[in-house]
Amino acid sequence: MNSFHGNKINPTRIHRSQLKYYLFLIALSAFMLLPIVFMFSQALKPINELFLYPPRFFVENPTLKNFLDLFNVTSVTVIPMTRFLFNSVVVTGCVVFLSITISAMAGFALSKLQFKSKKLIFEANVIALMFVPAAIAIPRYFIVDTLGLTDNLLGHIIPILAMPVGLFLIKQFVDQIPNELIQSASIDGATNFMIFRKIIIPVIMPAMATVAILAFQMAWNNTETSEIYMNNETLRTFAFYMTTLTGNLENRVAGQGIAAAAALIMFVPNLIIFIFMQSRVIDTMAHSGLK
């Protein structure tokens, strides 16, 4: 296994001949970051700047008025905003933890244990990766309904636990762990469960970080389950709440600012998780090579 950081060849000083690389990279990075800067500046724009034509990219007189407006709108609704936030935090936490565990266990078994039809399982998974997600929403509803998960917080969690991408990434990563490592452990008397806990989990930490980030994305931004499975308002998630809030206000002039502020509030947790996990995630991608 070639370590991604194995050969530290980064020079300590910038040489003049490298300036051209920086020029390219910095220009491209600026493009990459542009939308995020735009989001922040849009949320801080006062109303007259939001409707300027031609639109300005950067905010000129930043104000927190949009956030205050957002707060005012949310404080008059019947159900307090914290309730939705609580739902989202619980749901996202459970989904991230459980889906990592399930994918890691399955990935380990499919990669390192011998049993029948494991190839078939993996192929089914790859096909599921390609399928249009929208087309299975309705059949899923029937299953959720029969299981009695409608109007139940579990209805947000259970349907999205089996993540095809998660299993795919983790299995690719476990494939790179040498078999000798596992054999030697089992000769020393380790059971498969012990191998999983003591060897596999520590080694695939980066892959699990990637899956965690993807699962977080999926659960935190999920509005579909609130929309389809939940009739009880108090069980809906924060993401759904935000979309209804901005959806109703979009047509009003004042709504534009509130929508921008809401979008920023929805986005910030994503960014924070990303910054915390990114170095590990990137390592995974480099290791797994997605082959």
């Binding site: 995020i36 849009q42 266990m105 078994a109 599921a128 299975i136």
Partner: protein
């Protein structure tokens, strides 16, 4: 002999035990719904308050999609044209960026992080919000008349694709995040001694790129084409998926028709991927994983 048999049994048992939670979830919430939708695509489905009514119509939904639907085929053709155009751009672009980042420069990690960032942006509501706020176009392009300049100086067959690419540059950049990392992983696996040997033998950087770098990252080009195709096709923002969603709750066409559209779409993705894999996996004479170590 018997002992070995028992061990084998036990391993199979624990194997199934480990996959079991995943299999249950997969069967209930992926496999069965997919099977169900296949079934429904041959039916006319009416969802009423009492439940669903289905009538078997054989291939009618599929026939309707190709022969009578005013939108679907058109939308599909436009989308496939776009995809055929965007895939090479994304792949070439991400290769260039990966080559740049792979140079011995400082702040590698920072640049890698920035180029991976789209993974956070392009999922979920955020990207929809960005689209509606107009953050995905580049204001500078319109303001400084780059478009007019191109239109004036090139014939329309050349200027049009260039303009679309420039206007969609941010989108293309966003769809290159994972691909850049995959290429980087590939580049890291090439043994640096090969480069040294080549440059000692007097090869120019240009020759090194064509003769060493490109052949050794060829498998990763395939991976990236496949990844980009799947990524573009299953993106919730594309027109065809929008159309499928729209039909889902329409009364006159309904869920059955929507699933038929989804299955046609799935079949097309499948065929495209199959073609890509067939073309690229031929004459696989250079294997960097063997030669590189």
């Amino acid at each position: 002999m018997l002992l070995r048999l028992i061990r084998k049994r036990r391993e199979m048992f624990t194997g199934y035990l480990f996959v079991l939670p995943w299999i249950i979830g997969f069967l209930l919430f992926m496999a069965y719904p997919i099977y169900f939708s296949l079934n429904m695509s041959f039916n006319r489905v009416l969802i009423t308050s009492e439940g669903i009514n289905t009538t078997f119509v054989a291939w009618d939904n599929f026939k309707y999609a190709f022969l009578s639907d005013p939108q679907y085929v058109e939308e599909l053709v436009v989308f496939i044209q776009q995809v055929v155009f965007i895939i090479p751009i994304v792949v070439i672009f991400s290769m260039l960026v990966a080559l740049l980042i792979n140079q011995p420069i400082r702040f590698k990690g920072l640049f890698r992080g920035i180029f991976f960032l789209p993974v956070v942006i392009t999922s979920g509501e955020v990207v929809k919000e960005l689209f509606s706020q107009g953050a995905t176009s580049i204001p500078i392009v319109e303001r400084y008349g780059i478009v007019q300049f191109l239109e004036a100086n090139f014939s329309s067959t050349w200027s049009e694709p260039i303009i679309t690419v420039i206007q969609q540059l941010i989108i293309i950049l966003w769809y290159s995040g994972v691909q850049i990392l995959i290429f980087l992983a590939g580049l890291q696996k090439v043994n640096s001694q090969i480069y040294e040997a080549a440059s000692i033998d007097g090869a120019s950087p240009w020759e090194i790129f064509w003769k060493i770098t490109l052949p050794s990252i060829k498998p990763f080009i395939l991976v990236n084409i496949v990844y980009t195709t799947v990524d573009l096709f299953t993106n919730a923002l594309n027109g065809v998926i929008g159309l499928i969603k729209e039909h889902m709750f329409k009364l006159n066409t309904g869920f059955g028709y929507a699933t038929a559209l989804a299955w046609i779409y799935f079949a097309i993705i499948f065929v495209i991927l199959l073609l890509v894999v067939l073309i690229f996996s031929r004459n696989e004479d250079y294997n960097p994983r063997k030669a590189g170590r």
